[in-house]
Symmetry: C2
């Protein structure tokens, strides 16, 4: 069991937030599932746990930001630019994992929204200049994350400029059964991870599945040996 | 063995062109490997075949465009806008497979170039208004394609607005051992396929591999049953 880290989830009542809360708690980390409305956070948490004895607690977003050692952004894209500036002080110096997919949907299917900063993750970094922003977990199917009886089956491509923060998030991904954390390069690659979600969504619609993505020809020994290992033991 | 289709490759002397020429010829299709310089096309073809008895012939680009029933664009991105307008008449009505990845590289690694039309494939469609442009094969490692003793191991994500053309290219991908053709949605998704190549290149550099991409949780029965099947029998 790895050292437990307190995880804060901002906007955690949606499908991604619920799924990550469950999986990270199952991996042994205390989770603060945050929402604008703490009452709603508590209700969603009770429903999610369904009586299971796991360390997840519903709180307001400010408390999740304050007390989380690693903080996940799992709100919808259109909320990000409004919410983050008020949390910049609380998040300074912390590893912040942006899972936001800036997607729209029209008749032809999903499409990527124009983000002036290049990607949701780069926007988060611009709004949180003191944070160590990491883009990851875009392709983990929320429905599967939230169902502990099913396997998630996806590689978690991780983009960041801060190597130690990236290594930490790769390590968290590795703790979820069926997931493997993989270094996808610097933070600017986030635009391609977010964009690829539009491909996954289109594939899901066409084939009626909850697809994941695997990097083929990357064996696990090699992945561990050459991955961003620097900070496995570092506290965030 | 499927019905043979004459395949034209424009700019086919590069690694992608050579690899696709070899694999499509092994699948039973006559291939015209085109280059601006027919002499160079012939020399590259001789080297590629290395005495193997396969139906690949080196020709000039105009002949590959004229005589190909399905035509692949495998030149570097910076050549596309100059080359295509002169071939628009020859390519009208044909299935044109754009494999172009508009990538640059700087100190931080690979990055996607800005394409005014949104993607190289959409640019090709704009320059070839009569063609049936399909984006595909971005993530097949050229080095593996060109080595018949190695397995390519990648899913081939296929984006197109023309369902029959898409089905045809999915079928071609299926004929290469280790590849599976998968519908990735309309042509505008090409930008995400091209962008994801920057992720694959970064992963290759970090882990020193020739990675492919697999869609996880998509079984082959389902893939065939729900894929774009309309035109499996159609001649292009």
């Amino acid at each position: 069991m790895p050292d437990p880290l307190t995880i804060g989830l901002l906007g955690g009542t949606g499908p991604q937030g619920r799924g990550l809360a469950l999986r990270l708690a199952l991996a042994g980390h205390p989770v603060l599932l945050g929402s604008r409305d703490p009452g709603r956070a508590a209700a969603v948490t009770a429903e999610l746990l369904a009586g299971r004895d796991l360390p997840v607690r519903g709180v307001g977003n400010p408390e999740a930001a304050d007390r989380g050692e690693v903080v996940f952004l799992v709100f919808p894209y259109d909320g990000q630019a409004a919410v983050l500036p008020g949390l910049a002080a609380a998040l300074a110096g912390k590893v912040v994992v942006d899972v936001v997919n800036p997607l729209g949907v029209d008749q032809a299917g999903p499409y990527l929204l124009e983000v002036p900063e290049g990607s949701a993750a780069e926007q988060a970094q611009a709004l949180l200049p003191g944070a160590r922003v990491v883009a990851a977990f875009h392709h983990a199917a929320p429905r599967l994350l939230a169902d502990p009886d099913r396997q998630v089956e996806t590689d978690v491509l991780v983009a960041a400029d801060d190597e130690a923060a990236k290594a930490l998030v790769v390590g968290l991904a590795d703790q979820i059964p069926g997931c493997r954390g993989i270094d996808a390069g610097p933070l600017r690659q986030a635009r391609h991870l977010e964009g690829f979600t539009a491909v996954i969504v289109a594939v899901n619609r066409r084939y009626k599945i909850h697809a994941g993505v695997r990097v083929a020809r990357l064996g696990d020994d090699r992945r561990r040996r050459l991955g961003p290992a620097a900070a496995r033991k570092e506290r965030p």
